[in-house]
Symmetry: C2
Subunit: 103 residues, 2 copies
């Protein structure tokens, strides 16, 4: 068994690596920050903020989603994103645990 008495969602197998990878690209990190600024965020808003095409934004959103870092919800013709803060917290916890920063 892994650990006891900790609340934040545990990461699935391989999710740690996916998250680390997702956070590694500065542009993607910036997008995540923008999503975190508002409670929810539409793709169009991101497009206006960054000099990239919508295809690129879509790609980054897919990666963030695959890592479990954001929630995606369709709202009519728009799509809204939200940061899954518990997952991010689980990542930093696991990171600290692996490098023996807390034991």
């Amino acid at each position: 068994m892994k650990s006891l008495s900790t609340e934040p969602a545990n990461l699935a197998e391989g999710q740690f690596d996916l998250i680390a990878k997702a956070l590694a690209d500065p542009r993607r990190m910036a997008l995540l920050e923008s999503i975190g600024e508002a409670k929810e965020c539409a793709c169009q808003k991101l497009l206006r903020m960054f000099p990239v095409t919508k295809g690129t934004v879509s790609h980054h959103m897919k990666e963030l989603s695959r890592a479990g870092l954001i929630d995606t919800e369709r709202e009519g013709q728009f799509i809204k994103y939200q940061v899954r803060r518990k997952v991010l917290k689980a990542y930093t916890d696991e990171l600290m645990r692996r490098v023996k920063c807390d034991d």
Copy 2:
């Protein structure tokens, strides 16, 4: 002047991105974990634990060092590494701050 006893060090300009990049490669992350297992760790020990050449280990150590995640100290013909836990802590703090997980 830099930090008080319990204060986590602040990250230098660009260091956040370097750390994120350094943590993104699974092998490099595994090396960092191994260094964290012991209080200090020699390169030869890492070579015995992972199926990579010394050139590759050296490369990863350089990246971890460039990110400020490890300290490197020459001990005779060996080199010993130590995790700079305060830097890692500063990284996770900054990460949480950027995604508004704590405000």
